[in-house]
Symmetry: C2
Subunit: 252 residues, 2 copies
DNA sequence: GCTAACTGTGTATGCCATAGAGTGTTGTTG
DNA sequence: CAACAACACTCTATGGCATACACAGTTAGC
């Protein structure tokens, strides 16, 4: 295989493309373009990103961008990948559980500061530098644990999938709370009332019981519950992993 | 609050819209429209769905659809929700673990038979009938367990998020294997070779070790590993939930 | 200096979602 | 039964979109 078989965006993102020998110096850079795109997406979501708008942001014609990027889809993938910023070193070895917790929270933070990333289809195997960095750090945390590579990859997938779900959920809750006005609980109350209109006892018996018992109207949205709900899923996952790894250590 | 505050698509999906008293009988139905849309999406993905194509499929002008649907986005949401089909009764009570396992596998199956559903942004609180059905069944499984409503909802979110991730992943793996040709392992080998080009030891030290040790080239793709990888995440989650519930039963 | 390679521009095409006015049909009301 | 109001659907724009293609200007190497 040659490097030519790599997708164009992967080659440019890793700097594997040889620089041009003749012709004018490029007036733009991939970094500048993705940065402009990210600025637009952060402001107006993915729907606010068009090649024309990105070009205008840079003071350039639309078609100029195509000298740097193969297509809009490729640009968006590059944008998403380059949102990966904050990455510390994580505890590993016996403290792997803390390491993975921190890693997942960082992935969630990262996704929540760029909510449009979650609107993208999940790609198959990662090849772009940002996702590879994430993967590398997670594998480093798990280094030395009695898991084979497939299990480690499954673990990373599990946690990053969870992070994505969580990030989308909380971004949307934050957005609808902001839209509903000052009151934090207002959005939750609204939702409870909407549910009440729609949840018939015949089609949704269990749900109907919970709704009419008032479980949705109260206590879903206050501060303490937020913190608990934020960590519930992650802690279950980590506990499950811990049990598995402990069993392996015991010789299973 | 009145029912008017519900989104239009939610009202029509639940049949809360009163039928017209005057004027010609509608020549179409929401069901026919969503079914046509689903047919297109199953064939060509979400990109293959346009109002014009759906209309042509039904022998009608584009604008006729807007008598039934508020916007294309609303149509797509309705399409996604109405893909919910197979739903059995699941074991509950002490057998909740089997119930949730089966429920999750059904959600995965459902998503994999309509891969375009995963291209949609995850919505906030579910209001459409399909998602409500899923939610109701899951709550029924957990009925009687010592969890409060917030924890039950977190559990459902955790599992459905995992199902989404898993479904996307396996759909894409299946697609790339199909694209790579007859050989099942070919796609995995390709990926391993691509990784080798891109994973530098400086930026991705741990990953580089795994890649050059050959862990990606062999054994990722064979039949046994597929089955194991498919269940790894789910079993960790279920184990984690089990530990939590057991602790609650013990009086925690 | 000539030329090939390269960067950015201008223009054009075809698809898209959707607005708004117009046409015919139907149940209801006087 | 006649008139009308409510409705279903069609026709015709409009503005945005991604992107193909031909071009003009710029630079490095021969």
């Amino acid at each position: 295989m040659s490097a030519q078989e790599l997708p164009h965006e992967v080659r440019v993102a890793h700097g594997l493309e040889e620089a041009a020998r003749r012709g004018p110096k490029p007036g733009l850079s991939l970094e500048a373009i993705t940065a402009a795109g990210i600025r637009l997406a952060d402001a107006d979501g993915l729907a606010g990103v068009s090649m024309a708008k990105v070009a205008k942001e840079l003071g350039v014609t639309t078609m100029a961008l195509y000298r740097y990027v193969e297509s809009k889809d490729a640009l968006v993938r590059l944008m998403a990948d380059s949102t990966v910023s904050t990455l510390r070193d994580y505890p590993a070895g016996p403290a792997w559980k803390d390491g993975l917790r921190q890693w997942t929270l960082d992935v969630i933070d990262n996704a929540m500061s760029h909510p449009w990333v979650a609107e993208l289809p999940i790609t198959g195997g990662p090849l772009l530098p940002g996702s590879l960095t994430f993967l590398d750090r997670a594998l480093a945390i798990l280094d030395g644990q009695p898991l084979d590579l497939g299990e480690k990859l499954s673990t990373v997938m599990l946690l990053s999938g969870h992070a994505r779900t969580e990030a989308v959920m909380w971004s949307q809750i934050a957005a609808s709370r902001a839209a509903a006005g000052v009151s934090d609980v207002q959005a939750d109350t609204d939702y409870a009332e909407q549910l009440a209109f729609v949840v018939s006892p015949e089609r949704f018996p269990t749900l109907h019981r919970e709704v009419s018992a008032g479980g949705f109207s109260e206590g879903i949205g206050d501060q303490d519950d937020d913190a608990e709900m934020r960590s519930f899923g992650l802690e279950r996952i980590l506990d499950g992993l811990e049990a598995h790894i402990a069993q392996r250590h015991a010789g299973g």
